[in-house]
């Protein structure tokens, strides 16, 4: 169950060395992005932006109309999340990742403009993976269903665009030690393919 997978074996998620999390500052440096390997465990600290379905539709419309986006994608980390309302005194409510594939139609537009990382859950399309490799963007998986834990990693939150969308509004978040796993790196690694392949067995 270990190193039989060829490319990227150094990143095998069963390797303890790889599994101790690496602390990473946002915004992500291009060098750091290149070093990340599928299966790496990371703790992110710094600023990121949020957006999901409705916000992406507006990003695409803005690009088509030649208008400015509400944030500059270059070097940015984008988290696919629609949090629950914050209780008074809290920065944010429950804030786990949503399914990234629903953003596949739009993601290349942002990746081409320099987006450096996306955080979500679930597989990405081939078109997104090609764009990510070409433009130096990684896809990180946060663990869905840990929304209460993840909310504790968010130290501040403010709406920066589309406030009429409520939970789908674009927020600027500050996170500290936000845990994620590298799913798609710049070296063809894909944890959603390589991980299950290691553990697949014949049905008894």
């Amino acid at each position: 169950m270990t190193d039989a997978d060829g490319a990227g074996v150094g990143a095998t998620p069963t390797s303890d060395a790889r599994r101790s999390p690496t602390s990473i500052s946002l915004p992500l440096a291009a060098d750091t992005v290149r070093e990340l390997r599928s299966g790496d465990s990371v703790l992110l600290s710094g600023p990121l932006v949020t957006g999901r379905d409705a916000a992406h539709a507006r990003f695409a419309a803005a690009i088509e109309a030649g208008e400015d986006l509400p944030f500059d994608p270059a070097g940015e980390t984008l988290y696919f999340v629609g949090p629950t309302p914050a209780r008074p005194g809290h920065a944010i409510g429950a804030a786990g990742p949503t399914t990234a594939s629903r953003m596949d139609a739009w993601s290349p537009l942002l990746v081409e403009r320099g987006l450096r990382a996306m955080i979500g859950k679930g597989r990405r399309s081939d078109a997104v993976k090609v764009a990510m490799r070409e433009h130096g963007c990684v896809y990180l998986g946060a663990i869905e269903g840990t929304a209460a834990l993840l909310s504790q990693c968010v130290t501040s939150s403010e709406v920066i665009a589309y406030s009429d969308l409520g939970a789908e509004a674009v927020h600027r978040l500050e996170v500290r030690d936000f845990p994620a796993l590298v799913v798609n790196d710049l070296h063809d690694g894909d944890l959603y393919v390589d991980g299950p392949a290691r553990w697949r067995r014949a049905s008894s």
């Binding site: 069963t14 629609g82 597989r123 998986g141 209460a148 991980g195 553990w199």
Partner: protein, 281 residues
């Protein structure tokens, strides 16, 4: 004739919405713990540890354990000797949902229609299924259903010739296609038989079986459930889809009479944040 004020129903729904979203039910925590003890992959173990830690934090902090606080699906088994008083039952169910989602700091996740995607603002309407049964009790089950896993569900009208083997292949195919998007380890509700629509409702209702992972009282279905657990776990998808030995927490199969020409199968997936509450009034 027993009279039940609809306001009482609204209060119960309000309470259940909050409880179901803030506190993972005991048998579901147990199912996660069993999964943790069966899991062999290091990442899978870590995912399950975090899910268990998340359940503790959400209950303590009174925060939803998943930000997708879902559709509020209500199953009502109404004794035919019951008379609801004080207004519309349907409106009371919606009122309970609206108040529960507001007071529990839960996300309003519903839009007016697939084409008018304006948020309804209070997570209504409730998705209600009514059954009339003998007696004077009312059994109310709330299932908080996330969309990520509902989106990966499937229904197929198999032929009798496809049989149980065809049904098992369809289940595994659905799980493989869902992969990480259904947030494994999943609870799988399967409705077999009836009509196109009946199979879908049975599948959703199958998810609400309590305790999670208890076998069907029908020995043939119980055997099928055990075989499906093995086949689903064999995919290697694992917790959160990162690879591992546990892909399902439970498979619940319900069957119903069907047509000589038919073998409808509906598969409704629920994520590891399986939120169900049942009360009897």
């Amino acid at each position: 004739m027993r009279e039940i004020p609809v306001d009482e129903v609204a209060d119960i729904v309000r309470r259940l919405c909050i409880e179901a979203n803030h506190e993972l039910r005991g048998d579901q925590v147990d199912a996660l713990r069993r999964a943790r003890s069966r899991e062999e992959s290091p990442i899978g173990k870590e995912v399950l540890d975090r899910l268990l830690a998340n359940a503790e934090v959400s209950a303590r902090e009174r925060i939803a354990f998943c930000q997708d606080t879902g559709y509020a699906v209500c199953f009502l088994e109404i004794g035919q000797d019951v008379h609801f008083t004080g207004g519309s039952l349907a409106a009371a169910l919606d009122r309970g949902v609206a108040e529960g989602y507001r007071d529990g700091y839960l996300r309003a996740s519903l839009v007016r229609s697939p084409v008018d995607r304006t948020n309804t603002g209070d997570n209504t309407p409730a998705m209600v299924h009514y059954d009339l049964v003998p007696g004077a009790d009312v059994r109310l089950t709330l299932l908080v259903k996330g969309a990520g896993c509902d989106n990966m569900s499937a229904l197929r009208m198999l032929t009798p010739a496809a049989g149980v083997e065809g049904m098992k292949r369809f289940v595994v195919e659905t799980i493989e296609a869902a992969g990480p998007s259904a947030s494994p380890p999943v609870t799988v509700g399967i409705g077999m038989g009836g009509t196109f629509d009946r199979a879908a409702v049975l599948a959703k209702k199958a998810l609400t079986r309590e305790p999670t992972g208890s076998p069907s009282p029908d020995p043939r279905l119980a055997e099928l459930e055990a075989e499906l657990v093995d086949a689903i776990d064999a995919t290697g998808i694992g917790p959160a889809g990162f690879g591992g030995t546990v892909t399902t927490l439970a498979v619940h199969v319900e069957a119903y009479p069907t047509h000589i020409a038919a073998f409808p199968v509906a598969i409704n997936l629920d994520c590891h944040s399986h939120r169900v509450r049942t009360v009897t009034l």
